[in-house]
């Protein structure tokens, strides 16, 4: 499949799997596997934001860590198109082979307190990727760090301060500056705003959008907050128990969800308007363990529409409308409630 502008996707993930062995006993016997990522495939096009949502344990973070090659996938392909047009599969690369690629694929972390080394100044924190990627001249590095700090809305004079002098929102900006230091093309953002307060969250989201436009960045945006994902993404992939259950442009997935899980997830989000009555709770029970997922469709024990086929036969991800894929046997026949007319709070329109 090619992108909206006819170009090859920047990243093409195919049949990605990451299993963690469950070991027991003195002899570290493997007694089973946690199927954290179980046959995940998607494309990321240059310049777009692909949102990856799901509840905790759905495998979204593991997927992103595999793409970053912070861990090695169990199997699958991750075809990355380099700046010169050549394509390389990230999955089998060794530590040494990965190093030149690191500058192109960067990450923004969730925890603005843990991702900066507290013992290094901003200059050393932000300038480190530059240093290890060959910019050994200190003055040159200073200029670049100053430029980066300005880019994320911080004063260049802050360079000689330590991270402990900054608030959560400011540290997140520092983390963004660090991620952007090597001019990356693909940025994996792992819950970049979930540790921030509402007002700071808006500032950081605006910054990400602005930077994306200015630098033609491609984002893989991993988050659990649906309204944040909806705000920032061009397309959204919903994950459940290690699999993508639905993948579609943002507008389609939020207005016409085709998978019962997506519909339930959307309905569960509390709306910031007291006039919208709280919907009925659609989902009963708990998310199954990825160590022993149910037979057939992984969602069948909680699905109100499940039938015999769902309990027997695992559905595949299939494209139902252009760019709208779903992993459900009955997607065409289901009349899923379109999320109710949700009136905007007066505060927004005013």
């Amino acid at each position: 499949m090619s992108g909206p502008d006819g170009a090859q996707p920047l990243l093409r993930v195919r049949n990605l799997r990451k299993f963690f062995p469950i070991v027991k006993g003195v002899f570290s016997r493997t007694v089973g596997h946690v199927r954290a990522v179980d046959d995940v495939g998607f494309d990321v096009h240059e310049g777009e934001t692909l949102g990856l949502v799901g509840e905790s344990g759905c495998g979204k973070t593991t997927t992103s860590r595999c793409i970053l090659r912070a861990m090695a996938p169990t199997s699958g392909e991750m075809l990355y198109r380099r700046r010169d047009g050549s394509t390389v599969d990230l999955a089998p690369l060794s530590r040494r082979e990965l190093r030149p690629l690191r500058a192109e694929i960067q990450m923004i972390f969730q925890d603005p307190f843990g991702s900066l080394n507290p013992r290094m100044t901003l200059f050393d924190n932000v300038g480190e990727p530059l240093l290890v990627n060959g910019m050994s001249n200190r003055g040159e590095r200073m200029d670049r760090v100053a430029e980066l700090l300005r880019l994320v809305g911080l004063r260049p004079e802050f360079m000689h301060r330590f991270p402990h002098a900054f608030s959560g929102g400011q540290r997140q900006r520092i983390g963004i500056a660090r991620a952007l230091s090597t001019n990356p093309r693909l940025v994996v953002a792992d819950e970049p705003v979930s540790a921030l307060d509402v007002s700071v969250q808006a500032q950081v989201l605006n910054l990400l959008l602005e930077l994306q436009q200015r630098l033609r960045l491609t984002f893989l945006f991993v988050a659990h907050d649906l309204s944040v994902v909806r705000h920032i993404s061009d397309r959204v992939a919903v994950m459940y128990v290690g699999q993508i259950v639905e993948l579609a442009p943002t507008k389609s997935i939020f207005e016409r969800p085709l998978h019962p899980y997506t519909a339930a997830l959307l309905k569960a989000v509390p709306v910031a308007d007291p006039r919208v009555p709280a919907g009925d709770v659609l989902l009963k029970g708990e998310v199954p363990s990825p160590a022993s997922p149910p037979a057939g469709c992984y969602f069948n024990p909680r699905c109100p529409f499940a039938d015999e086929r769902c309990r027997r036969e695992a559905p595949v991800l299939r494209e139902l409308a252009t760019g709208h894929s779903v992993r459900c046997h009955h997607a065409e026949r289901l009349q899923l409630a379109v999320p109710q007319e949700r009136i905007d709070p007066a505060g927004r329109s005013g």
């Binding site: 509840e55 929102g169 400011q170 943002t250 708990e286 949700r342 505060g347």
Partner: protein, 345 residues
């Protein structure tokens, strides 16, 4: 019941004396909780919402202390007691805590002991506060308490309550653990329930279940709830009355519909605007609140919000501190845009 409030907080101040200076974490907070009402306290980190609830239970950790104000709580017998005056380790607060006022904490994992079964711990709580179940006096036997817990578990939607009773907290899933925690909080028939970010640590579908459960329980038992959260969506779905806090002060309070549809304070308005919603345009710049939260040692003079306020009145907002006054529509706001009353200096 008479018409008076169950809990009336007036001018509460909590101060933390640190080496670097003292921090006014709660700086003159006032609000009422009527019997059976759900009051939501909303605000960003550092606004003092959690410290306020800790003060209500006399659980403020040193070096923090309640410096001023009163918290009149109407006890079951009808007589009012000022929670602020009680000895934090005294008999009276221990009788109230867990029995008449119960807490649902944010992290249920940390609140259950890992070495006792969940059931045992709730049985203990019931036996400790036996008076809530035996108003005429007398102990609750272990078997009776166990039967009560089974009923409670069924009440909060835990399937197979008899078996779950004997499991340890770490054997339960996040949702079940939070349900067990709610059962624990309800075990002594409290008249006031404090829920401190009870759904922050859990997923959205589980959150929907827990919120539905709390709404249902509140309707059936008529328990008053003080609901602390930073999530405006949760507040809108849960509360009937909302208190908006910023830097230890109440900015605005009023009925939930008024707060969301006719907010009067610029902070409330800015907060509502800056949230990405489930409708409306995507990938556009969100309206933000300019600047950053001041450092606790650097509280601005005057109205604490004025350096970030778009509608600040030059010469007035940085000079005097506005008090919380009724501004019509059942709402109160501390803002000079709506009244002229300042705090005496």
């Amino acid at each position: 019941m008479t018409g008076g409030p169950l809990l009336s907080v007036r001018g509460l101040k909590v101060v933390f004396g640190l080496d670097e200076g003292s921090v006014r974490a709660v700086d003159g907070v006032s609000f009422d909780v009527m019997p059976g009402q759900v009051v939501g306290i909303v605000g960003e980190s550092g606004c003092g919402k959690s410290v306020t609830t800790k003060a209500m239970l006399q659980l403020v950790d040193p070096p923090g202390r309640i410096a001023a104000g009163e918290m009149l709580f109407r006890r079951a017998g009808g007589d009012a007691v000022d929670l602020a005056r009680l000895d934090p380790r005294g008999r009276e607060i221990r009788e109230i805590r867990g029995a008449e006022i119960a807490l649902i904490p944010q992290e249920p994992m940390a609140s259950f002991s890992p070495v006792h079964t969940v059931g045992e711990q709730i049985v203990e709580a019931i036996r400790l506060h036996a008076r809530q179940w035996r108003p005429e006096g007398g102990a609750v036997s272990r078997a009776d308490a166990r039967a009560i817990v089974v009923d409670l578990f069924r009440d909060v939607g835990i399937s197979m309550p008899e078996q779950r009773l004997d499991s340890y907290s770490w054997q339960l899933s996040g949702g079940l653990r939070q349900r067990a925690m709610i059962a624990m909080a309800l075990s002594c028939k409290p008249r006031l329930l404090i829920a401190d970010e009870p759904t922050t640590a859990i997923d959205v579908t589980t959150q929907a279940q827990v919120l539905a459960l709390l709404r249902d329980l509140q309707k059936r038992h008529g328990t008053a709830i003080v609901f602390i959260t930073h999530d405006l969506g949760v507040i809108a779905q849960m509360a009937s009355h909302v208190v908006v806090m910023y830097l230890g002060r109440v900015m605005e309070e009023g009925p939930v519909d008024a707060i969301f549809h006719a907010p009067r304070h610029p902070y409330t308005r800015a907060l509502l605007r800056s949230m990405p919603g489930m409708r409306g345009e995507t990938r556009v710049a969100l309206p933000t609140i300019s600047g950053t939260l001041p450092h606790p040692f650097n509280r601005p003079a005057g109205c604490p919000f004025h350096p970030r306020c778009e509608e600040a009145i030059a010469g007035r907002c940085q000079a005097r501190v506005p008090v919380l006054r009724p501004v019509g529509g059942g709402q109160s706001a501390s803002c000079f845009l709506h009244h002229d009353e300042a705090e005496a200096t």
